[in-house]
């Protein structure tokens, strides 16, 4: 090619290179030098589950450099960890995911002697069925799944899941795009457990959802709070923390409720993958977030309920007294934890396909 053409292509390449270097320079702060192996920890966590200032303080206090990657579904987490070649030291699986990971030997048995902070945690959340004795995990944040709604548009009191199936709200309803959450609603209305495995019952639930589909504006597991806040929908199935945040911004208009038939209770837990390379740093991180002051700061930052009892006094009173975030015992009593359904998962998936495909 001609000299000029070669020059122009080179300048194009140089331009791109300059761009890349500018971006690197802008980034500033952490240098590449801090990659000494011992003082690193790789964290894989839900989006918006760790306030940046808490992370920065952790790095300052311990001198450990943390790399944080995020995910938005348990299945993504599971796929990465099952591959055996993701290099993470801390992961945050939900209850039923942990139940799947433990028998597959994906997570480490924790050394209790190095986790004195466990005494700070709420005993109600410890020793659950998915991890008896908390040998493999410690609870981190928890919440419920319920209905967020617009008080101004929905004049009647909202206390039942039935309202999500009402013809007059057609086109104003949002459901989570999650098979367990959707079926959970139908099963609860039928008075059954959300962990039902009887195929006949599941088919009935599927029929309910198929009839409901015409009324649903959209299925969305990430934007439900925003859509409710923006007024695109008046009734949204969603998770407590995010809806509580939306309610906090518009308390006269929005509200959150766990219906009387009951909802889902979920607990996200900190765990260490078997393939983790920086164990000292991992334990340091776990100890750090179990400190009451830190735990309180996390709760105040993310608006989800924390598992740390000793942190209670330091939590923002507005959050402490918010029944959407910290529900009273009677609400908790009617919530259930999701459990993995084993073989029935295949049938459930087929039924969900039928609901979506019609």
């Amino acid at each position: 090619m001609t000299r000029t053409a070669r020059i122009s292509l080179c300048s194009l390449a140089a331009g791109l290179l300059a761009l890349g270097m500018t971006v690197t320079a802008c980034r500033g702060g952490h240098g590449r030098a801090a990659e000494a192996a011992e003082h690193k920890v790789n964290i894989y966590i839900w989006t918006n589950y760790l306030p940046p200032d808490v992370l920065a303080d952790f790095e300052k206090h311990t001198g450990i450099k943390a790399t944080v990657d995020t995910y938005d579904s348990n299945e993504t987490l599971l796929a990465k960890i099952q591959s055996g070649v993701a290099d993470y030291d801390i992961i945050v699986p939900s209850d039923y995911t942990l139940k799947v990971m433990i028998p597959q030997g994906l997570v480490l048995e924790l050394d209790r002697a190095r986790l004195t902070g466990i005494d700070n945690l709420d005993p109600r959340l410890l020793n659950q069925k998915y991890d008896p004795g908390n040998r493999h995990s410690i609870p981190y944040l928890w919440g419920t799944t319920g209905i967020g709604y617009d008080k101004k548009k929905i004049k009647e009191p909202v206390d039942t899941w039935r309202v999500m199936f009402e013809q007059r709200y057609a086109g104003r309803i949002l459901m989570l795009d999650d098979v367990r959450d959707a079926f959970g609603v139908a099963l609860r209305l039928m008075g059954k457990s959300i962990n039902e495995t009887d195929p006949a019952v599941l088919r009935q639930a599927a029929d309910m959802l198929k009839k409901q589909k015409a009324l649903v504006k959209t299925y969305d597991s990430s934007d439900f709070a925003n859509l409710l806040a923006a007024g695109d929908v008046d009734l949204a199935q969603g998770y407590s923390g995010e809806i509580a945040e939306a309610v906090a911004h518009a308390p006269n208009r929005l509200a959150y409720v766990v219906p009387k038939e009951g909802g889902t209770l979920w607990v996200d837990n900190l765990a260490v993958p078997k393939t983790a390379r920086h164990l000292d740093a991992a334990y340091a991180f776990l100890q750090y977030v179990m400190q009451p002051e830190i735990a309180a700061r996390i709760v105040n930052g993310v608006h989800y309920a924390g598992a740390n009892k000793a942190a209670w006094d330091r939590i923002d009173p507005k959050i402490r007294s918010n029944p959407s975030i910290y529900p009273p015992p009677d609400v908790l009593a009617r919530c259930e934890l999701i459990e993995d359904l084993g073989e029935t998962t295949q049938l459930l998936d087929q039924l969900w396909t039928e609901v979506k495909a019609q």
Partner: protein, 293 residues
């Protein structure tokens, strides 16, 4: 170039694709013959001979031809065809304009401008479309404000929105190959046809289109096939209310954690497309044309 030289040129491609493409796929094919374990993952096969004899290794494929899954495939096919046809109709005049009619000094710029919007994030562009099409979005604001309509149009979370999103995302993949083909179009042939008395339509139909067929085919391939397997656009712009082939497969890997079934579906999709391409190749060969793909 001699055959030996050609094979040498192909060596690096074969090396890369052999190791990082064929091997993983072979692994996946093997997975499609197995069954889902209790917690996702794979169920162990203790007696291989018995497993093969029992026919269980075909279970996933047998399941995939039940009516529900066939109807999903059919709907996906139609969406992909519609997307491809719309893309072709919209893109050909544009590619023509850039390649043939635009002043020479503008060509590269115009071409670059086609691609530039797609250097922004696909997710963000899709979100921008959501903003435009929403009940309180840009389009409705403009139409309501100017009095054209009196109630907002519900355009988002409909098949219409999905079509817009799909066509929008695939346009450059149709325009670029068409351009590459049109740019090399020998104008003298068009002149000759005109001299022989052919009208504009005839020249287009009987000279231009056949001559640019390689570009058309490349464009159709580059648009049709990804459209068959897409799922993000129908989830975001369609409100996740439809189950297309892409959603189905993604669901198997991401949610149902049924990799064997997902792999079986994926290979069936692949086989169907390959058959289509094979049929096309045979057809072109019979007409004596060079098979480009």
């Amino acid at each position: 170039m001699k055959a030996r030289g050609a094979r040498a040129l192909l060596l690096p491609t074969w090396a890369v694709l052999g190791v990082f493409f064929l091997a993983p796929l072979a692994l996946m094919l093997a997975v499609s013959f197995r069954q889902r374990g209790v917690y996702g993952g794979l169920r162990a096969v203790t007696d291989l001979a018995a497993y093969l004899r029992s026919g269980a290794w075909l279970a996933n494929y047998i399941r995939s031809v039940s009516p529900i899954y066939l109807s999903i495939g059919w709907r996906s096919l139609w969406m992909a065809v519609l997307t491809t046809v719309l893309c072709l109709l919209i893109s050909y005049p544009v590619a023509w304009w850039i390649a043939v009619r635009a002043p020479r000094r503008w060509k590269n710029l115009l071409l670059g401008l086609v691609v530039v919007p797609f250097w922004t994030s696909f997710l963000i562009r899709t979100y921008a479309w959501m903003f435009i099409l929403r009940g309180q979005g840009l389009l409705n604001a403009v139409l309501l404000g100017s009095g054209v309509i009196h109630r907002p149009l519900e355009l988002l979370y409909t098949p219409f929105a999905v079509m817009i999103g799909l066509v929008y995302g695939e346009l450059p993949f149709m325009i670029l190959p068409l351009y590459a083909s049109l740019e090399k179009l020998d104008r003298t042939l068009l002149e000759a046809a005109a001299d022989l008395g052919a009208g504009r339509a005839a020249v287009f139909r009987r000279v231009t289109v056949p001559l640019t067929m390689p570009g058309i085919v490349a464009g159709v391939v580059l648009v049709f096939i990804p459209s068959l397997g897409q799922f993000v656009v129908s989830d975001l712009l369609g409100g996740a209310k439809s189950m297309l082939l892409g959603n189905l497969i993604q669901n198997q890997f991401a949610v149902a954690r049924n990799q064997p079934f997902g792999a079986a579906l994926a290979f069936e999709l692949t086989a169907a497309v390959l058959l289509l391409l094979l049929a096309y190749a045979l057809y072109m060969k019979r007409k004596g044309e060079e098979v480009l793909l």
